[in-house]
Symmetry: C2
Subunit: 286 residues, 2 copies
């Protein structure tokens, strides 16, 4: 990984910017370049010391490592020209939240073997270069898809980089990734966004009602602060799986509602008791 | 508040037990008695030093202060005999999560003026005497209902006690309390319980999928660890308001689903952007 002298981050937001911060610590000799569609974000990222230089796609020929951390629909469009622009030994890693469409977008590319599809299960509800923090990835899971399609040499470099970030590695095919991530991540975001909407709509004329809100409410609506510019493309790219999870969620809520309407408190108790099993599953996630 | 020499806690769980711990710190001279339908909980509470003695309803005649912290449907049944048993100068405070039915249960009681209806917006997803912690109420809101129905002298003692716990006081009628708390607390719990159910049902044969779950998922399903024995009676007592919030929530989820099915990403973006306003509302809640 010490071969990474010129590192390019495309998309210097929460994920790309946090990686840049860790790279600066781990590879103090490297130069970190940022590329972003927002000039403001680039200036901000340089000002904050997240990246060393702002750059353009025309500079990619000198890259040893490229991290693509842009909204997932843009990644599909960006990746082929990025691969066109880089050298024979450059590693290009996409770190978006859906993996099937990016893998398809590069499947037939001449430089497919320079590419690695990865998804760090790390983040916060904040966004942009100011949200970039060191050690965001430490102790977190990195899901890697189609690892066998990347050259051995670049696989090895990527893995040593992820290990240096302190990540646990998990391998998965992109279809399974997108299916399961809809349950354990995408659905949580919709549930939270719509919970925020429901409460704000109802209470819009009674601002002081939020004095009644405790930490439980704050916890369940935390994700409603997330960036719509990130999440709209995720729902678009993973539409089928998201619709499936959402339908099941709505069905479960309707059945809870039916029990309550029918005064079937035994059933309500049982539903909650079963959901309590999440305790043992969540151990270790914080 | 120094007049409280003999304090009785009925229900030595998360809320009652945490109050007991704070009282021991604030009133080191006082004796703290616990009453609970679970003998195990009582023994555990004595062993942990949460209470000084276990007691029965027949000991209530010597109480200066009684905290009723039992499931809300039991509070309705318990409060009249508790008021029957206490002396003329005893303060009885109910600290349950719904307020309308308890206020109705004591409305015509001879000792109505010994009673204060209160709801501390404080808690965790844990339960029982082991969940009892000091300073749980510090900086939190205490909602007080029908304060004018309590004698001046006991009002004053209660308020000095709540101030000593470090709480912000808010006054509200019990109907409004129950209506608004359905939005900012009860709905969050249902959303979380059903999210846990949906994900566990789907992923029951794929335990290692939870390696894919990050802090966002943990945050939205945290409340699914809550005690069904506490929450079933809350949903029962506040049925009408809970059904209203739940219907609106399901309606919002359905409309999000319709937008996604119709590929209306502009509408999806707008929904999330609007929900982002929760940021400014949540400031100060943690």
């Amino acid at each position: 990984m010490e071969d990474f002298k010129n590192i390019f981050i495309i998309g210097v937001g929460l994920i790309g910017g946090s990686m840049a911060r860790d790279f600066k610590r781990l590879l103090p000799e490297a130069e970190i370049y940022g590329i972003d569609s927002s000039k403001n974000h680039l200036e901000e990222a340089v000002g904050l010391g997240v990246i060393d230089h702002s750059a353009g796609l025309e500079d990619l020929h000198k890259a040893d490592l490229v991290i693509v951390a842009v909204p997932v629909d843009q990644a599909n469009l960006f990746l082929p020209p990025v691969l066109d622009a880089v050298g024979e030994d450059t590693l290009v890693i996409d770190v978006g939240s859906t993996k099937n469409s990016v893998c398809e977008a590069v499947a037939a590319h001449d430089k497919r073997r320079n590419f690695l599809a990865a998804h760090p299960i790390a983040g916060t509800e904040f966004s942009g270069p100011t949200a970039a923090v060191e050690y965001l990835f430490s102790g977190k899971t990195m899901i890697i898809c189609e690892v066998e399609k990347t050259t051995f040499k670049l696989q090895e470099k990527a893995l040593s980089l992820f290990n240096a970030l302190g990540m646990r590695l998990r391998y998965m095919d992109p279809q399974s990734h997108d299916k399961h991530i809809a349950y354990v991540s995408h659905l949580s975001h919709i549930s939270s966004f719509m919970l925020g909407k429901t409460v704000m709509e109802k209470e819009k004329n009674e601002k002081d009602i939020f004095d009644m809100a405790g930490s439980g409410f704050a916890s369940t609506v935390r994700l409603a602060k997330s960036n719509p510019a990130t999440w709209t493309p995720i729902f678009k790219e993973n539409k089928e799986h998201v619709l499936e999870t959402l339908s099941e969620y709505i069905q479960n809520l309707n059945s809870f509602k039916d029990f309550l309407e029918a005064d079937d408190y035994e059933a309500i108790y049982k539903e909650m008791k079963n959901a309590n099993h999440i305790k043992s599953i969540l151990k270790g996630i914080s």
